[in-house]
């Protein structure tokens, strides 16, 4: 019996889909059987980020309405050997095509076959959100170091705390720009965590390669050299229960001069 985790944020554009794709892929890399479920009906794009767009035949609405079995609708990721699957959302209907009860049954069924079911939640707190959280056992809240995103994350955490079947949500802070935080132009991590007062699951530095990788349909996690990739892998390890320290935000300065500066702690 696996665990269903919903990835949500309230605000749009903070990186829910990217986080779902990368954490899911990272869990698969660690040898778990993972199913990604896109609940953003009408505006799906988890399939695009995963590079599986052109293999979709059936979708979530087809399954819910009984037009096909779950197994038929699942799209297998060829990069893995029977580890990673995607249940795509429908593009032709809208959020009201599915009810929370139907989602709950669907996720319950998927949990039988997979170690982790990651549910990509649409932005907002309406029907789409309710569908996404209906079947979840745990939640990851994604935010960026912006006041508006943190405000919405706070709202979502409040709503998640009301759902009794969901464990206390955990936080991922996405797209942190180290130099801006250092200059005090961006909210720093401690401030956000203190404000939201939930456990921090991971932080991800702003990295252009993430966008490049998404556009190519290759989750960044598959490129082990990138900083964001390591962050996502660390998040996956923390989900599995390992205790992994947070990465430092700034890259170590190299060279003799930097070492001397560090010695005198000049910043």
């Amino acid at each position: 019996m696996g665990e269903a985790i919903v990835i949500t944020s309230g605000k749009g554009g903070v990186g829910k889909t990217t986080t779902t794709a990368n954490v899911g892929t990272a869990l698969a890399l660690l040898g778990k059987r993972v199913c990604l479920v896109d609940t953003d009906i009408g505006l799906r794009n988890l399939d695009v980020v995963m590079g599986l767009e052109n293999r979709i035949i059936y979708d979530l609405v087809d399954v819910v309405e009984g037009r096909c079995t779950i197994q038929k609708a699942l799209v297998k990721d060829k990069r893995f050997d029977d580890q990673l699957y995607l249940l795509p959302a429908a593009q032709t209907s809208d959020k009201t095509a599915v009810t929370p009860e139907q989602m709950k049954r669907l996720v319950e069924e998927l949990k039988q076959d997979y170690d982790y079911v990651l549910i990509d939640c649409p932005a907002g707190i309406e029907q789409g959100y309710k569908n996404a959280v209906a079947g979840a056992d745990a939640a990851i809240v994604v935010t960026t170091p912006e006041v508006s995103a943190v405000r919405d994350a706070d709202r979502i955490i409040g709503l998640l705390e009301k759902e009794e079947h969901i464990k206390p949500p955990r936080l991922v802070i996405n797209r942190i720009r180290g130099h801006m935080v250092k200059n005090g132009d961006m909210l720093d991590i401690d401030e956000i965590v203190m404000h939201l007062s939930i456990d921090l699951l991971g932080i991800i530095a702003d990295d252009e390669n993430v966008i490049k990788a998404s556009n190519n349909g290759e989750p960044i996690v598959l490129d082990p050299s990138s900083r964001a990739s390591i962050s996502y892998r660390n998040i996956a390890r923390r989900i599995l229960g390992e205790s992994v320290p947070l990465q430092p935000l700034e890259e170590e300065q190299k060279g003799l001069f930097a070492k001397i500066k560090k010695l005198f702690s000049v910043r």
């Binding site: 919405d152 706070d154 709503l159 007062s197």
Partner: protein, 222 residues
Amino acid sequence: MNRQKQSYVTIKGTKDGLTLHLDDTCSYDDLIAELEEKLTVNEPKESDGPLVSVHLKVGNRYLTPKQEEELRALIRGKNNLVVQSIDSNVITKEEALQWKRKTEIVSVSKIVRSGQVLHVQGDLLLIGDVNPGGTVIAGGNIFILGALRGIAHAGYYGNKDAVIAASIMKPMQLRISDVMSRAPDYKTDERNEMECAYIDDDNQIVVDRLQLLTHLRPNLSR
């Protein structure tokens, strides 16, 4: 049945008028009848004397608002008498519960997040924070053992003496009774001492050191 022997109504004169002790064991109808009789007997002849205030002590009898009205009308119907107060030892359960709700301190341990509203009838003791976009409302005072970063509304039913106190006072808005104030648009310097908000003599909300409350609202000690 001889009503003269048993006296249900005792009239006493005091320096602030008359005090009527009404027996609480007889029936209401008997009481009204005797009151009517006694007042008629003792009614002064001339009607232009000064008004005499009457205090009713009804003991352990519960009077419905309608009965109270009837008593007032009966006494006012006599020359120069007007009911100043009706004092009863009993109140209904509902009134008692409402009284309790309005005066008790409700302690709540949670974080009031954006979009959430926490509403209590009496005083609120919040063990946690109010985040921006969150709202706390209390009929009485609000005490927050955390950071107030959202909206707090004390004295919701019109109590202007209500206060708001917080360990970290960084509110979006403060409201006490019908007076409102909001945070300044510029950023204030970090102060790390507990603060309180109250309505001053100019009917403005003032934020100041918590310790001042001892002098400003001595009735906070119970």
